[in-house]
């Protein structure tokens, strides 16, 4: 593990090393962002809009999200679509931990972002999935239209394109 983390910083010191690393990052990121396989993880209403995004009219397969994988081991992206409740909270954490890196999370819908319509007066709801797992993209809406989910996936792709190999400084101006 140590050599995987140290070799970019090591390579960078040599002339041409930065160019090599940037090219590697370009290809790694290009491959990763264009084939993000989502985890089938619909909880409530937003899940249906996620289905519609996979259905013929909006069709996120053209962005590379070709297959939805039921097993978290094979999925790259978890779209938390729906309300997160206390009974489900531990399972969401376990699913996230089971996903292999690099893994990304889109909090789809107002419920996953902050609890949504259930933020007040509901005893069963977790106010936002970011209380449980790290979230990359927050997508508000109740439910967000499929175009909005496509936009979220494209924003995630931009974020992935700015990924760097371990040990390198972040790209100037990239979103955290």
């Amino acid at each position: 593990m140590a050599i995987v983390e140290k070799w970019p910083a090591f390579t960078e010191r040599f002339p041409g090393g930065g160019l090599l690393l940037t090219s590697i990052e370009f290809f790694l990121n290009w491959g990763r962002k264009n084939s993000l396989w989502p985890l089938t993880f619909g909880l409530s209403c937003c899940a249906i809009e996620m289905f519609c995004t996979g259905a013929p009219r909006y069709d996120w397969a053209r962005l590379g999200n070709e297959v939805l994988r039921a097993s978290p081991r094979q999925a790259d992206m978890m779209v938390v679509a729906g309300t997160v409740c206390w009974k489900m909270a531990g399972r969401i954490q376990r699913l996230y931990e089971q996903m292999a890196e690099p893994r990304y999370v889109i909090a789809m819908g107002a419920c996953a972002v902050s609890g949504g319509p259930f933020h007040f007066d509901s005893y069963g709801t977790v106010r936002g999935v970011d209380q449980l797992i790290p979230v990359d993209i927050y997508l508000p809406g109740c439910p967000p239209k499929p175009e909005a989910l496509l936009h979220a996936v494209l924003e995630l792709e931009k974020k992935i394109a700015a990924d760097r190999l371990p040990g390198r400084r972040p790209v100037k101006g990239a979103r955290p």
Binding site: W86, K87, H119, F120, D121, S122, Y123, G124, T125
Partner: protein, 155 residues
Amino acid sequence: MNASLPEALRAAFPGAAVEERGGFGPVLVLGGGAALPEACRALRSQPEFVFDVLEDYTALDEGDRLQLVLHFIRSEEPAVQLTVKAPVARTGEEVPTLSGLFGSAEWYEREIFDLFGVRFAGHPDLRRILLPEDWQGHPLLKDYRDDKTLHRTGD
């Protein structure tokens, strides 16, 4: 049948009160939860009633006591509806289960136990159904307080 249903109920259940609500069927108010199995058996089997579907079974918190509310419907024509109510104490009273008479009662009674805390004697599997097993308290009671999970509007 609709017009004579309140009379038939009064005749069959002399100790109970029968209220009529316009358009939504009569309400049969029993004396207590202990009278439920007998009454439901009669409602299901007697030929003038034949209320064979226990559509819904829930509870109300009326402050000083709880009220069990059952909604019946007939599956054959005419599809009349009937509401049965039975008061129970907030704590300490065990209500006899209806899960032997109606299969749907099993899960409904679990939900009443989960959200109101009413215990049902003779229930095959009385445990929480909607909330996690280790949840404290019964949320649908009016005096339920939970500062950890419940944010009130205006917080």
